[in-house]
Amino acid sequence: MRTLAAPEPELAKRLLLGVRYEDRLRAGLLVPPRGVVETPVASLPELCSLLEPDARCLPAVHFDTLVEWIGGVLGDTELAGRIREAVREGCYVDGCRAAHALISERLAQARSCAGAV
């Protein structure tokens, strides 16, 4: 798998700090038998945690919305594009896992970058 290009410090900061209340990603967790628990996401660490594979629950996120939010609101067009490609094949859970892998990679890069700064 191709690695993502290292983010600029400004982008890394934005990814880690998060966005305003009204700009959050509408997402949730599907927890049986409770249903979908709305869990709006403001930052990349929150998103990574939401998408992390977990036997108790499934992420509840629409991939189009996710890609749009990462590219538009967070301003990470590279990550958005890679996720768009990655979720094209396979089932929904495969898509969540592929997105999670990319987001994990980007999160590690962003933390490293922020740490260096």
């Binding site: 628990v37 977990d54 859970v93």
Partner: protein
């Protein structure tokens, strides 16, 4: 009277008198909800009551014949009934239910239930030790949380007892009997004492009777707690038959613990799972189960927090804690489970808090709520998501401080008081029915959940056919072929409901063309009649019953109504009765009619039976945004079954009215008013109910 203890304890708090009522008089209602409704009918002096905090309210805490036995997932539930606090627009006669070891202990003490009337002039607690019952002074317990209250009462009961080596003496009729068991205590906390709609009843660490505001009902009656200890047993009519059915349930229908099928479809066959809805705080945990249950769905942890909090309570604060934890799941877990402890200790109901707090967060960010704003609040809203915020928020709600003063009567009531009614109409406050928050099974998609709630009085919280949503949509999310195709699913469920669906399984079709049909009304009737008898009165647990299909079985048929491990097999083995499964449903129909008669006297008319406006005006797009699946069995124009999406639609007012007319006609109620008719009530042995409705001028007219 096998299965039954034979007597019900009536406690009149006003006169502080105790009375025994023969259970035989109420036997036909089974137990639980049925008996509670019948007792309410007989004992409530003013059934026009609209607020459960009035002294006329009659609150019952009822076991069933199955409590205290090893009937799988039916031995430990307990049903609470009475006029509620918090629903909108009326505190309808309602119900709630909790697990643990209270109802089984009640039976072992020789009681089928406790019915509370009147109001004490100062705080009391009820001390039940077998036949020895006393009301005791609770003034020093008032203000204490639910855990401290339970602990203090246990210490009091045990301190005066003759104890040695872990055993202690409980008085019996002629002598003392020994037990190692501490008393089972059901208590209220500050949320109940202050008579807020959030008040619930708590037993143990986390067995909560949440809905309906019964903590406020007890608070209004000055009743702090009930303690029960018993040394008897439950007489089972045919122990061999009970064991046969129990083994059949295990060997034929249940999961094999040595070789579990994690992708199984059904309910009785689920692999026991004692995890909370956030990451478990530690691997060092011990399963905790209600009496006689095969599930063990709760846990206790070596870390000492989050014990027995499950489901909604173990999740209600997670979306908010996630913001603070920034991806640290263990931090989310600790905040959420510690906030669950706070909820349990204050005796507050977490169910409505999650949806309500979403709305409050919105108001804060809109600049409407906060210090010096239109809705003044000094809570630290910028710290929402922290444990400290949760503590202060729950404290405010439970003690009527800050915004808690306005929220004390309920969420919709607060929206109206604050001039934010439009938030409710538009779904920003997502409370679709009777002042209850949406449960995640929106009426616009999952029809039975919405309709069943609409024609009763509270969020139905009944997963009877809702399990289909889970099995189908999780399989599709994983890209798996459904283990039961839609046509087979319709057949399997249709066969279980054969008497109601009359051989036509189309009631399960939630497609657009069938949304308002008579067949969906037939399906909802089955669910409600099942619910009212087998689940709420016999007290089979919702997480395991009904068992409509089961991939553990070659034929895919579930245990429900089966001749080897159906509900009636267990019922008959315990009680010595010889009823069919359908006769149980018929009892459920009688109980629902009794409910409807009470609601009618409380002021209900069909014109009030409406969803909130957003259900009619806005398409259900939530899943469209969050989760691309809400597939359900539907038929196409050729009648072919398939799992199809039921998203992105709204209900039409005309359609829902048409559906209500179907439902009322099928129930034998007056479709113009929704009121029960004499002929229907008399056919169910409820002529006295018809008489009272007639005297009140609220008896339904017979259709020509």
């Amino acid at each position: 009277m096998s299965g039954f203890a034979g007597k019900i304890l009536r406690v009149d708090l006003t006169s502080r008198t105790l009375e025994r009522i023969d259970t035989e008089r109420y036997r036909r209602f089974g137990g639980g909800h049925g008996m509670g409704a019948a007792l309410f009918w007989d004992l409530c002096p003013d059934k026009t009551i609209q607020d459960g905090r009035r002294p006329e309210n009659v609150c019952s805490i009822m076991a069933s014949p199955l409590c205290g036995t090893n009937v799988p997932s039916a031995g430990g539930r307990c049903e609470v009934t009475g006029a509620g606090v918090g629903p909108y627009p009326v505190g309808w006669f309602t119900r709630t239910n909790f697990g643990g070891h209270f109802s089984s202990m009640l039976k072992q003490a020789g009681w089928d239930g406790i019915v509370l009337t009147g109001r004490a002039d100062s705080p009391v607690w009820l001390d039940v030790r077998n036949d020895h019952v006393a009301l005791r002074d609770a003034r020093d317990l008032w203000g204490k949380d639910t855990w401290t209250t339970q602990q203090r009462i246990r210490e009091r009961v045990l301190s005066g007892a003759d104890a040695f080596d872990g055993w202690w003496a409980v008085p019996e009729a002629e002598r003392a009997a020994l037990t190692t068991q501490p008393p089972s205590v059901l208590a209220i906390g500050p949320a109940g004492e202050n008579q807020t709609a959030h008040g619930c009843l708590v037993h143990g660490a986390g067995n909560g009777a949440g809905q309906g505001g019964f903590g406020a009902v007890w608070g209004s009656k000055n009743l702090k707690a009930i303690s029960v200890v018993g040394t008897g047993t439950v007489d089972v009519a045919d122990p061999a038959a009970l064991l046969r059915a129990r083994f059949t349930a295990k060997e034929k229908y249940a999961a094999d613990p040595d070789d579990p099928d994690l992708g199984t479809w059904g309910t009785l066959n689920r692999v026991p799972n004692s995890r909370p809805f956030v990451a478990p705080p530690t691997d060092e945990r011990r399963t905790s189960a209600c009496f006689g249950c095969v599930s063990g769905c709760k846990a206790r942890y070596s870390v000492g927090y989050g014990n027995e909090s499950l489901c909604q309570t173990s999740n209600w604060y997670a979306p908010f804690a996630a913001k603070v934890a920034k991806g640290d799941k263990m931090m989310v877990s600790e905040i959420v489970l510690r906030s669950a402890d706070v909820i349990q200790q204050y005796g507050a109901n977490s169910y409505t808090l999650q949806r309500g707090l979403e709305w409050l967060e919105y108001l804060y960010h809109r600049g409407v709520l906060g210090p010096g704003r239109r809705i003044h609040s000094e809570l630290p809203w910028e710290e929402l998501g922290t444990l400290e915020f949760a503590r202060r928020f729950i404290h405010a709600l439970a003690t009527r401080q800050d915004i808690g003063a306005d929220l004390a009567d309920g969420w919709v009531q607060a929206a109206i008081r604050w001039g934010r009614e439009d938030d409710w109409h538009q779904g920003r406050l997502p409370f679709p029915y009777w002042g209850y928050g949406e449960h995640a099974y929106d009426p616009r998609a999952e029809l039975e959940w919405g309709y069943a709630t609409l024609v009763t009085e509270r969020d139905i919280n009944d997963h009877a056919v809702n399990i289909i949503f889970w099995d189908v949509n999780i399989a599709l999310a994983y890209g798996r072929t459904p283990r039961i195709d839609a046509a087979t699913m319709a057949r399997l469920v249709g066969e279980k409901m054969a008497h109601y669906l009359e051989g036509d399984p189309s009631g399960l079709d939630y497609g657009d063309a069938n949304m308002y049909s008579e067949s969906v009304a037939r399906l909802v009737r089955w669910i409600l009649h099942y619910n009212r008898f087998w689940k709420n009165s016999a007290l089979f647990c919702d997480l395991r019953w009904p068992s409509l299909y089961d991939t553990q079985v070659d034929t895919l048929e579930g245990a429900t109504a089966s001749p080897d491990a159906g509900e009636q097999v267990f019922w008959n083995a315990v009680t010595g009765e010889d009823i069919t499964f359908e006769e149980g449903l018929e009892r459920g129909r009688a109980i629902l009619n009794l409910n409807q008669a009470i609601w009618t006297l409380q002021g209900r008319h069909r014109d009030m039976v409406r969803f909130a406006r957003f259900i009619y005006e806005k398409p259900y797009d939530r899943f469209e945004v969050y989760f691309p699946f809400y597939n359900w069995p539907t038929r196409d124009e050729n009648g072919a079954w398939a799992y199809r999406s039921v998203l992105n639609r709204r209900l039409s007012e005309e359609g829902v009215e048409r559906w209500k007319t179907h439902f009322y006609r099928l129930e034998g109620w007056d479709p113009r008013t929704g009121w029960p008719t004499r002929s229907t009530l008399e056919s169910l042995g409820l002529a006295h109910v018809a008489d009272e409705l007639e005297r009140a001028g609220r008896l339904g007219r017979e259709e020509a």
